[in-house]
């Protein structure tokens, strides 16, 4: 896999700290929902920094759609969220990964569990599902700090046959929300049709601590460990 030259062609603010970026990448092709890319920046003095970002959308070759959440004091994300503008060039390696991938021909129920910007690969899966007849039922559990931190909440909340979402707010809830702020519990991960006996494929994505807590709850509910696929991310 070699590096491709990428050009920023669009940006869109999503939350206080997250932004969508679209890159034009000649030679980039065949990405699957759940895959990621490595993104490399090179400073004028030759210093390079590389980070991995999940694809937020797939299905269009020579195009890379990302959602980047800013990590304070990070080397790459502050540039991508605050400074990158159309015409800027960087480098992309990918598409990458084959483990944390949803194949749109698979009709098994899919349980998605996201912490913060861990929802990004799930956006790609949801968008791909809409494009392929919605055969697989999807259930998304999304944990965020506050309502203002929810990425693409309007899109996720848009009614879609066979798809349900459950939000968990850990620091601040929306006005009128029926529950106080709290962390995710085993009860949040139980939904009819998405249990261990339903052949459910489970994907968990988020910061390391969130992923380990959620994966522990899921295996405690009886999901076989090899049906619980996890992806962790850290500071960047």
């Amino acid at each position: 896999m070699s590096w491709h030259v990428a050009t920023v062609v669009g940006t869109r603010p999503l939350t206080r700290t997250a932004r969508a970026l679209t890159l034009a990448v000649p030679g980039f092709a065949g990405a699957l929902p759940g895959q990621h890319v490595d993104l490399r920046l090179t400073a004028p003095d030759g210093y390079q920094a590389t980070r991995a970002y999940s694809l937020a959308e797939t299905g269009r070759d020579e195009r890379v759609d990302l959602v980047v959440d800013e990590v304070p004091d990070g080397e790459v994300s502050p540039y991508l969220v605050r400074d990158a503008r159309p015409g800027d060039q960087l480098e992309v390696r990918g598409p990458l990964g084959g483990y944390f991938v949803w194949h749109d021909a698979d009709t098994a129920p899919v349980l998605l569990v996201a912490g913060g910007s861990g929802v990004v690969p799930f956006l790609a899966m949801l968008r791909a599902r809409r494009g392929t007849g919605r055969r697989a039922p999807f259930h998304l559990v999304c944990s965020v700090r506050t309502p203002a931190d929810a990425i693409e909440r309007d899109e996720v909340d848009t009614p879609d046959p066979g798809f349900d979402v459950r939000w968990v707010f850990t620091r601040e809830v929306p006005p009128g929300w029926p529950a106080p702020p709290r962390r995710i519990t085993a009860g949040d991960l139980v939904a009819p049709g998405f249990g261990p006996d339903d052949g459910t494929a489970v994907f968990v994505c988020g910061p390391t601590g969130f992923v380990e807590a959620a994966a522990g709850l899921l295996t405690g509910l009886g999901h076989p460990p090899d049906r619980v696929r996890t992806e962790r991310f850290g500071g960047a």
Binding site: M1, Q48, R93, G94, G97, G98, T208, E231, R232
Partner: protein, 90 residues
Amino acid sequence: MTSVDRTVLDGSALAGALSEVYAFEATRAVLRCASCGHTDVLARTTVHLSAMGGVVRCATCTAVLLVVVERPDGVRVSASGAAWVQAPPR
């Protein structure tokens, strides 16, 4: 040089670097730990990233399985902690 923040991740974080070395998709490749015999896909290993590169550890006994360094002249993999590495099914 290449710098990466110090953080704990999993094998997916090294998919790009390993794609420079292996013809197969690395996150689905199976590794056997030479220390404890635990056998699982790379995606389930623990990865520590630093400015030097990535250190892949066994999720069971934390022994070092692989060390992956992105050098200017190419990616180098030390695999002395893995009894074997098996390519994933196509």
